[in-house]
């Protein structure tokens, strides 16, 4: 059994991808680890007027001005609190750097293509357009977020639309 597993792991290793798993409320989400630049605490965020509520503002990341998005607010989660444990994942999306606020970061997982199932058509708050699939891992289910699509989408209001 273990031999078999090892063999299949080796066979698919080339195609397996690593994901950073983070939690939002009770759910577990994951993004491609290659998109992640760093993980830091939530501090010193300057509010931006007239921006959507989930855009917390901008912060100084070693001389670079980076917008901070709170995915908890975006996904309408309750109990949005900011404390010493609040984590910001700094991701690289295209040419841009964006910080996303999450409840916590748990681990880094390797998923083989077999473990990634297509995402069902659902989602009022999180359209399935922004999902790259669902990762099943024994008894856990990870929502794989296509962070590129999500953050550059119009509804995130992070990027100027052409006519804006």
């Amino acid at each position: 059994m273990t031999d078999l597993n090892a063999a299949s792991a080796a066979a698919t290793e080339a195609h397996s991808r690593e994901f950073l798993v983070f939690s939002l409320g009770d759910e577990e989400y994951a993004i491609d680890i290659l998109k992640v630049q760093e993980i830091r605490g939530y501090e010193n965020v300057t509010r931006i007027a007239n921006a959507p509520e989930f855009i917390k503002g901008v912060t100084n990341l070693r001389g670079v001005i980076v917008p901070i998005v709170d995915l908890r607010i975006k996904f309408h989660l309750e109990n949005v609190e900011y404390g010493g444990q609040t984590v910001v994942i700094v991701v690289n999306v295209g040419e841009r750097i964006v910080g996303i606020v999450v409840d916590g970061v748990s681990d880094v997982m390797t998923l083989t293509p077999e473990q990634i199932k297509p995402a069902p058509e659902f989602g009022v708050t999180l359209s399935s357009d922004y999902l790259s699939g669902l990762g099943s891992l024994e008894d856990r289910m990870l929502v794989l977020v296509d962070i590129d699509k999500l953050l550059t989408s119009e509804e995130m209001a992070l990027v100027d639309t052409i006519d804006a």
Binding site: N44, G57, T59, G63, V64, I65
Partner: protein, 729 residues
């Protein structure tokens, strides 16, 4: 050492030379050409030819060669200049530029264009010179020159082709110092292009070539300078055919006693090896050689007193310096990187400063002193670094003489271009971005502004129109004006056009407002659409471009007397003098250049108007009030106007009173683009990083006013549907 390393140097130098050539050609008085200028043009062409030959850019070499021949006739008075000849020269110059660009991109120039320009130049030579020869047909010399066929590269520079008044048929002893064998071969080959090599010998530290040529020392130096440093090259006239290299060497020894006595010559240019001493001894001779005397050099040198030699040396020095040490070429991104780093340094420094200022002063006296020293040094460093980016406006203005000349000819108008304040400095990135808007304004002035000579005469003006480009510093801004003495804007025409184009107008609009109409999209007043201007997409693009640079543009015009367009731009986009203000618990930065004054509003000066607009009376002027806390939704801010501080600001020619809680102070801030990682935020132009590492937004006064208006409108709309809701100012 690979010769391709020098390509870039050649391209840049050639570009500069072409620029010089164009400038001289434009300044040239056709009826009475200045021989100095003709020489300068000729030399530029010649140097490019030499460089092109060295690097194997055959097409470029060929074209310059044809041009050079013509220029040579011109400077000897054998070809009489006319305006159309200058035009042809300019055309050839443009072609050279195209060819240069093609080579630069690693390609080959367009063969058809090359063929065409060759034909044009040959035809010109044939037409003009043929006539000339027929007229006063004296000798074989002119006959040879009338021959328009290009001389193959190996023969170019042979007697009769590029001979100038300052070149006597003779021998030159050329010494190459410290050149590697591989490169030396190339250089010798290059020298062979100038004439016949009679003798060559030496090693890599000093290699002498005896060359029989008619090319002047200046020209050879100029060509060789593409490849070697000036101090690596010595050229000495070796006298008549009888003289040879050893003679020259002997003479230089003789001359050395004079120079040595003066005791200074040998202190220059440190070099190693035995050759060094000899090289330096020869220096005075080299400097003298451009003087060119027909007498044998030996006689000249020995008869010349040593101090004369030193004089020459002193004279020659600035030239050497300008080609070698006084400037370096650095890619812009390297400079930008330094500027960014210095920006970071400044931020770190102010963070430290803040920490130190919170410390007990009695404990860290030395630290506090050190900090103030650091602060001063950091500021100096920042200023010095910023000045690297500054370039004179000449960089921009220099491209207009040509444009004006060509356009005026095309439009059959007489226009005189005057430029003022060329030495005013502006950030390089801004100069690049101002060129397009300025070009547009100049085209407009020529096309729509300045009238045809007949119309001008009828209006009692001189037939020649006058277009003035000026630049001057005004506080932290630069003011650029495009002024013409043409017909001016026509109020009725503008209004009619605006109505026809659906641009909103009003009967009683002030003149200034009417002039602003031409910045509306899709507006053009030209009766006929020409290819010069009049597509009607121009002026709004001009305005938008200038606004994107953080500047603004305004128009003043008087019918029949002309139009002045004024562009006000910040000197640099990277650093800003700011006033930090506090609203609620948030800090914002106002550009100091927009701040006029600040005052405590009195209740009787504040008037509420319909539609929730509030104005404030400041010295008999009613200014719209912008409550910053309202526009930017700041919580816990002071809402009562009389307990706020009113900052009077100016933006796009209008004034506003901003209500803020507190003024913190003035500081220089490094401007950081918000749009790099985020998007445009209304009311905000950019962001900066404060001393404590937090981000503060830099406010855009005009945009803020717009924002506050829309908010108030939304608010009053909401109130109309749900009345009885209390609304704060």
């Amino acid at each position: 050492m690979d010769i391709s390393e020098f390509y870039e140097t050649f391209f840049e130098e050639a570009e500069e030379l072409l620029g010089d050539m164009e400038r001289h050609l434009l300044e040239l008085d056709v009826d009475e050409p200045d021989p100095e200028q003709l020489n300068a043009i000729f030399r530029a062409a010649h140097s490019i030819k030499g460089g092109a030959g060295t690097f194997g850019f055959d097409v470029l070499q060929h074209t310059t060669h044809l041009l050079e021949n013509l220029l040579d006739y011109t400077r000897h008075g054998e070809l009489v200049l006319r305006r159309d000849i200058v035009d042809t020269f300019l055309e050839a110059k443009d072609m050279l530029h195209d060819q240069l660009d093609a080579y630069r991109q690693g390609g080959e120039p367009d063969p058809e264009a090359f063929e065409r320009i060759c034909q044009t130049l040959k035809q010109l030579a044939l037409d003009e010179m043929g006539k000339k020869v027929g007229d006063d047909a004296p000798g074989a010399a002119s006959a040879a020159k009338a021959e328009p066929e290009p001389t193959p590269p190996s023969q170019e520079g042979s007697p009769g082709v590029s001979g100038g008044e300052d070149s006597a048929e003779g021998r030159l002893s050329i010494a190459l110092l410290g050149i590697a064998d591989k490169d030396r071969e190339l250089l010798v080959e290059e020298l062979a292009n100038f004439g016949e090599i009679i003798e060559r010998r030496g090693d890599s530290s000093r290699y002498e070539v005896l060359l029989e040529t008619s090319t002047s020392v200046d020209d050879i130096e100029m060509v060789m300078c593409f490849i070697v440093e000036p101090e690596q090259l010595e050229i000495v006239a070796a006298g008549g055919p009888a003289a040879d290299v050893s003679d020259a060497a002997a003479r230089s020894d003789a001359a050395q006693s004079d120079v040595g006595a003066s005791g200074k010559a040998a202190e220059k240019t440190p070099q190693q090896g035995e050759a060094t001493a000899k090289a330096q001894e020869n220096k005075p001779q080299e400097k003298q050689s451009p003087e060119k005397s027909p007498e044998p050099p030996a006689k000249v040198e020995s008869s010349k007193p040593a101090n004369k030699a030193q004089d020459n040396k002193a004279k020659a020095k600035p030239k050497a310096a300008s080609s070698g040490e006084s400037s370096i070429r650095v890619p812009v991104n390297k400079v930008d990187q330094i500027i960014n780093l210095v920006g970071e340094l400044i931020i770190t420094q102010s963070m430290l400063d803040q920490t130190v200022s919170e410390m007990d002063a009695t404990q860290g006296g030395a630290l506090v002193n050190g900090m103030s020293l650091l602060q001063r040094n950091a500021r100096d460093l920042q200023e010095a670094v910023m000045s690297i980016r500054m370039v004179p406006m000449d960089y921009v203005f220099s491209r207009f003489p040509r444009l004006v000349r060509d356009l005026a000819a095309k439009l059959d108008k007489n226009v005189e271009l005057v430029t003022e304040g060329e030495s005013t400095e502006l950030d390089k990135s801004l100069t690049e971005r101002i060129i397009d808007p300025l070009t547009h304004l100049v085209r407009n002035s020529l096309d729509h502004g300045i009238e045809s000579p007949d119309k001008r005469e009828a209006a009692g003006k001189s037939r020649t129109g006058r277009l003035t480009l000026s630049a001057q510093h005004q506080g932290g801004n630069i003011l650029i004006e495009v002024k013409d003495d043409g017909a001016g804007l026509n109020r009725e025409k503008l209004l009619a056009k605006a109505e026809a184009n659906g641009v909103p107008t009003a009967e009683n609009m002030s003149d200034d407002d009417v002039w602003q109409l031409i910045f509306a999209p899709g507006f053009s007043t030209a009766d006929q659409v020409s290819d010069v201007s009049g597509r009607g997409v121009g002026m709004d693009v001009v305005k938008r471009n200038i606004q994107a640079m953080g500047g603004h543009v305004e128009i003043q015009s008087r019918q029949g007397q002309g139009t002045t367009t004024r562009i006000v731009l910040p000197l640099t986009l990277a650093i800003l003098d700011g006033m930090s203000i506090k609203v609620g618990n948030e800090m914002f930065i106002l550009p100091l250049s927009t701040v006029l004054e600040s005052l405590q509003p009195r209740k009787e000066d504040i008037y509420a108007m319909a539609g929730d607009d509030v104005v404030m009376k400041v010295r008999d002027e009613y200014l719209p009030v912008v409550a910053v806390h309202q526009a930017l939704d700041v919580a816990e801010a002071e809402t009562e106007p009389t307990s706020c501080i009113a900052v009077i600001v100016q933006g796009e020619g209008r004034r506003y009173a901003l209500l803020v809680d507190d003024l913190i102070g003035q500081q220089q801030v490094v401007v950081k683009n918000l749009e790099t990682n985020y998007r445009k935020v209304s009311g905000v132009s950019a962001a900066t990083i404060l001393g404590d590492g937090s981000v503060a937004l830099i406010l855009d006064v005009t945009d803020l006013h717009r924002l506050s208006r829309t908010k108030r409108e939304a608010l009053s709309a909401r109130r109309q549907t749900t009345p009885a809701k209390e609304v704060e100012v």
